[in-house]
Symmetry: D2
Subunit: 345 residues, 4 copies
C-alpha cells in the first residue's frame, strides 16, 4: 500500500489521537476487568446521557459481526428468524454468523440498501395469514443499518413506521450503527440518538469504523430486556478481559462531542469528493449522502486509478464499467482529497 | 481500587509500553484490514521463527475463551467432544462456550490443575472398549493448559506422553497458553515453543495476560490442518477489522525477546512474594512455580489484608481459612512487592 | 373429516396393507435394536440392489425434515451453506431446521418448483469471483427435490448438469425424494434409482408419503462418505430404538416392486383427476405430472367444494380465485375419484 | 438371535397386540396430519385424565433421546445447563444430544443411579455463592429418570425435595420416564402420575420401552410454559407427519389400564427372575426393583450362558466377573422364564 492514497475503507488507520492519549495516560493504572472498571462506567454514563435514556443498559463489544450475532441471538427465540434487506450486512458479509447461531435471515427486497416498511409489513401479514405458519420460521426481529451498507439513510418517519409494525406484531427492532457517526453528522439525517433510543429495542453505536481501534457500544433502552447478558457475552467468547479498553475509547468518543467531530470530518471529505467526481463527469450511485462514495469507472481508467489509489471494488456495472467505493473517515485530510483530485485529472 | 495495591490478576493494567509506542508510531499509516497487513505478516513470521515451524500457520484472535471456542470447534467433528481437567478453563469458567458450539467437555480428574496421561489413556481405552460407544460422544481432542489454571507446569515428558496417546487414538492435542510467557520464563519449565510446535496440533501464545492489551496468537504447525479458518473466524464474530492491532502487539512481543522479559519480570516478582509469604509463616498451595501465588489466609486477617490489597478469592479452605490468589505480571515493580511485604507484617 | 372425501395430501391414511401384515407377522420375534436386525439388513440389500450400488450405504430415518437436517448438516462443513430453490422444502416449510443446525439456505429463483443448472452455476461463479468471499457463506451443496414441491420433475439431463457443476466446484448434490415413488412411476420421468445413485452424493427414497407409516431410506452411494453417521443420527435424536420398524417397511416396499405399484396407483388416479378437471373447464397449474394436482378454483365454488372434499390451500391466485392442491396416493380408489367427479359437476 | 432366549432389553419385540389391532382397524381412515387428528386428541385426553391435570399440554414425540433433547432445550435459556446424575441417560448414552443443542450437562454423583436432593442443593448454593458465577454455566434444570438407568426408584418424598429446591432456585424439574410403566407397576413405588404432574415442570411417559412400537408422551402440566412448541418440534425434525400413529398407541396404552398391565407383566417376570437368581446363589446388584435385573456372573459361566440367552453387558465387575443386565417387558412369558431357569441350572 506504500505511497498510495488510501480511500478503500474507514478502518485502515489506527484511532483518533484522543483515544491513544487516554490509553497512554491510564496505562499503568490497575482496574477491575471485564468492563467493571470506572472508566467503562463513565463511558456508559456518557452514552446514556447522549441517548437520553438514563435507565438504559449500555454494553461494549469488540466488533460489528460479533455484536450482530450476540445481540440478535439474545433477542430471538430459538424458532425465530430476523428480517433484513437482501443487501444487509448480516445477509451477505458476516459468513453466516446469524445462521451459525441457529436463526434464518429472511430477506426483503431493497433499494439503495434500504427496505420499505410496507414490504416488512406485508411479509408479516403473509406469515400470519398462512395456514402453514407453524411449519415456518417465525419472524422475530427487523434488522436495519443506519446508514445502510450503501451509505443511505432511513428517515425518522421510516423508523417510526418500522416501530409501529414491530409493535403491531410484537417483534423487535434492531439498528446496526456500525457507521452511525456518519449518519449523525450528515445534514440530510433527521434521526438522533434520542430517536434511536425511543424507537429501537436494541441498537449499537459503531466504534471500529468511526475512529476507535475497535469496539461497538450496544444500547438497550429497556435495561431489563435481556437477562444474563454478561454470561451470554462470555459464552460467545465476546467478553474482553481488559474491558476498560472499550470504556476508554467510548469515554473519549462521547467527551466534547468527539463522535460528531469524527463524523463531520468524514462527511465534509466525502462531500468534497462527490463534488469533484461530479465536476469531472463521473456518475455517482445509490445517492449516498454519508461517508461512502460510490461511482462508476470505466475499467481501463480504473486500472490506472488503482495504481495510485486504494479503493474498494463494489460490483460489476457492465462489461466495460465497474462500481467502486471510496470511503472517508475521522482522519481524512484536505491534502489527501487534493491529491485524489489531481489523480482524477 | 484507588490507593490499593493490586495483585488480583495479570490483566489489571494496560500494555507493555513498547506496544503502546508502536501503536502511536503506526497510527496514521493506512493498511489493509483483517490481518492482511504487513505488520501482522511480520508478527506471524517472528512467531513462526520463535516456534521453529517455518511452515506453520499463525492466526491472531482477540481473547482466550474466544480462541478456545473457535479452535476447538474447528478441530472437532460434530460428534466429538474434548477431554479436559475438571478444573480446566473450558470446563469451568467459559460459561459453556464449548457446549454452545455443540461439543461435550469430558472431564478427567486433576491434581494441582494437571491431568495424568494415564488417566486420559484409560478414558480412551474404556471408550473404545465399550460396546455402546456408538451411542456416546467420541473423544476427539485433549485440552491442557500450560501453565495450568493452578499455575503448575506440564513437563516435556508429560507432553510427549499426551502426544503418543493422541497418535495412538488419532485425536488432537491442544494447549491453552493463556499465560504461556510465565511458563516459558519459569526455571522449572522444560517445554519450549519448539516443543509445543512439535507436539501439539494447535496451541496458542497468550497475549491478554502476558503484557498485551488483548490478543492471542494461535499456532497451527501443520498449516493445512484447518481449511477455511478465516471464514470460520469471521462466522464466529472473532475477526478484528483493524487486525493490525493484533499484529502490532505480537510483533513487539516477539521482538528482542520481549515475551520472555514479560514472563521473567512476573516470575521474579512471584518468587519474591512466595519467599516473603513462606518467611512470614503462610502456607502456599498447589506448588505453583509460575506467576500465580496461592496461599491460605485466616479469614479475619484476610479481611484486613483486603482493605489494602486487591487479591482473588480462590476457594474456601475451611470454616476459618480461605485460599487466595495473588498474581504478578509484566508491570509488577519491586516497590509494589515491598509494599506488600510491609502490609503482610 | 367424517364423511368427506379426502384428497388433501398423501399422508392421511395408514400404510399399505403389506406393511401392516409384515408387522403383525414379526411382532413377537425378538431382534436387535437400532437397525442392527436382519430385516433391516434385508431391506438395505433390496435397496442397494434396486439402486444398482452394491457398495453403497443405506440408512433409515423417520421423517423428511429430520432426514434433510441430519444429512445436509453431515455433508456440510460448518462454514458452508446449501443452495436450494426459494420454494424448496428446506427453504420454506421446515421451520428453519437447516439454520438451526448452523447453515444458511442460499435460495435460487425457481420456475414451477425447479431451479436451473445455469442459475446454480452463475451463483457459484459469482461466489468464486467475489473478492469478499472469505466473508461470505461458502456454497457446499445443491439441494433439489424429485419430484419438486410443485410436483414437477427434473430430467436426467438436468441432473447430469447439476452433477457436472458439483464436480467443477467440488460440492455435493443432494436429492430429496420425499415423493420419489411418484416420480419413478410417472411416464414422463427418465431418472431411475440407478441414475440417482450415479449422480448424487446422497439422496433419499421417501416412505412417509409413499405408502409407509413413516420412514425415509437414505442412500449414500459412496459408503465411506460420512464417517460415524450412526453417532450423528443418535446425537440428533433420530435413531429409532425399534429400528426394525423401518426395516420392515422398506423390506416390503422393495419386495415385488411394491414401491412402483404405490407410485403407479397414485399417478393413475392423478391423471384421471387431471382429465376430469380439464374436461370440466378448470385450469391446471405448474404442469405437474405426478401425484399432486394443482388447479384454480373460483372462491365461491371452492367454499362449496370444501364442504365435501378435503383439499390443500396452495396460494391465492387473485381476489376471486385460489390455487388448491389435490393429492393421490397408494390408497386412492376408483370410487373416490368417481365421487370427486360427481362433486365437481 | 435365532433360537435364543432374549432378555437383552425391553425393546426387542414389536408392540402390544392391542396397538397393532388398532392400527389395522384405522388404517384406511383418512385423518389430518401432525397429531391434529381425533385419535391423538383422544389419547391426549386420556393422559390428562390419568395425570389429573385437565389443563396440561400433552405432546407426542418419537423417541427418548429426541424427547430429552427437544424438551430440555425448550426449557433452558441459552446460557443455562442441566444437572443430572453422572450415570443419567443424557450424560452418557445420548451421544451428546444435549450439548449439540448448546447446553452443558452438569453431573452430580450418584448411588445406584440416583442423585441426592442435598447434592443438588449444595451444587446450586455453591454456584450462587461463587463470585465468578457470571463466567459459569447457570444451572437451569434438574433431570432425573424414573425409574433410573439402574432400575431404581425415587420416592415421592425425594421428588418433593427436588421440587422444593427447584422452587427455591427458580429452575425446572424434568423427569425422564422412558420406563415409567415399570415404576408405576412396581409395589415399592409411591410416585403416581398425579404426583409427577404436581411436582414436575415437564415429564414424559415412555412408550418405546413400554409396549409401543415407538413414541413418548410429554406432559407439561402448565400448558403455557413452552410457547410455539409445535414449531420447535418441527424445527428439530421431530414432528411425525402421520402423527396419529403416536395417538393410536397412547390411546390404546391409556385405555383399560393397559399401561399398568404392561408394567405389571414385566415386574412379575423380573421378580421371578430375581427369585430364581437368588435361589441359585447369584448376587444381584443395585437393588433394582423394576424390570431390569442386574447380576454378577463369573466370566466362564457367562460365556456358556450367552450361547443360549441374549443379555446386556453392563460393566466389568473384576477380572473374573461381569455385571450383566436382563430385562423383562410387556411380552415376557412364563415359558421364557422357565426356560431361563433351566439354563441357569
Amino acid at each position: 500500500m506504500k505511497g498510495k492514497l488510501c480511500f478503500s475503507s474507514d478502518y485502515t488507520k489506527g484511532a483518533h489521537p484522543a483515544i491513544l492519549n487516554r490509553m497512554l495516560d491510564t496505562n499503568m493504572t490497575a482496574t477491575a476487568g471485564y468492563g467493571l472498571d470506572e472508566i467503562s462506567a463513565s463511558a456508559r454514563d456518557r452514552i446514556r446521557k447522549a441517548c437520553g435514556c438514563p435507565e438504559g443498559a449500555v454494553v461494549f463489544l469488540v466488533g460489528g459481526t460479533q455484536t450482530n450475532a450476540v445481540m440478535i441471538d439474545a433477542l430471538l427465540s430459538s424458532y425465530q428468524g430476523v428480517m433484513a434487506a437482501e443487501t444487509g450486512h448480516i445477509s451477505t458479509h458476516e459468513a453466516g454468523a446469524i445462521e451459525s447461531g441457529g436463526h434464518k435471515v429472511m430477506t426483503l427486497p431493497q433499494e439503495n440498501g434500504k427496505i420499505k416498511p410496507e414490504d416488512a409489513e406485508r411479509y408479516l401479514e403473509d406469515y400470519y395469514g398462512d395456514g402453514n405458519r407453524d411449519h415456518m420460521v417465525m419472524p422475530g426481529l427487523i434488522y436495519i443499518s443506519q446508514p445502510t451498507e450503501y451509505g443511505t439513510l432511513y428517515s425518522r418517519k421510516e423508523l417510526e413506521a418500522f416501530r409501529n409494525i414491530c409493535d403491531r406484531f410484537q417483534i423487535s427492532l434492531y439498528v446496526d450503527g456500525a457507521r452511525l457517526a456518519y449518519a449523525l453528522a450528515c445534514p440530510e439525517n433527521d434521526v438522533s440518538l434520542e430517536d434511536l433510543s425511543k424507537l429501537c429495542d436494541v441498537f449499537y453505536i459503531g466504534g471500529t469504523k468511526c475512529g476507535a481501534l475497535f469496539g461497538e457500544a450496544v444500547v438497550i433502552p429497556d435495561q431489563g430486556k435481556i437477562p444474563h447478558l454478561f454470561t451470554i457475552i462470555k459464552q460467545r467468547g465476546a467478553l474482553l478481559a481488559k474491558g476498560r479498553m472499550l470504556g476508554i475509547q467510548f469515554d473519549e468518543l462521547f467527551k466534547d462531542d468527539l463522535y460528531l467531530k469524527v463524523g463531520s470530518n468524514a462527511i465534509k471529505g466525502a462531500d468534497s469528493i462527490r463534488r469533484i467526481l461530479t465536476e469531472k463527469g463521473y456518475t455517482l450511485c445509490f445517492g449516498s449522502p454519508t461517508n461512502q462514495i460510490f461511482c462508476i469507472m470505466e475499467n481501463k481508467a480504473l486500472e490506472k486509478f488503482g495504481e495510485k489509489v486504494e479503493y474498494s471494488f463494489w460490483e460489476k456495472y457492465d462489461e466495460d464499467h465497474t462500481v467502486i467505493r471510496l470511503a472517508t473517515d475521522w482522519g481524512t485530510t484536505e491534502e489527501e482529497i487534493k491529491a485524489l483530485e489531481e489523480i482524477l485529472e
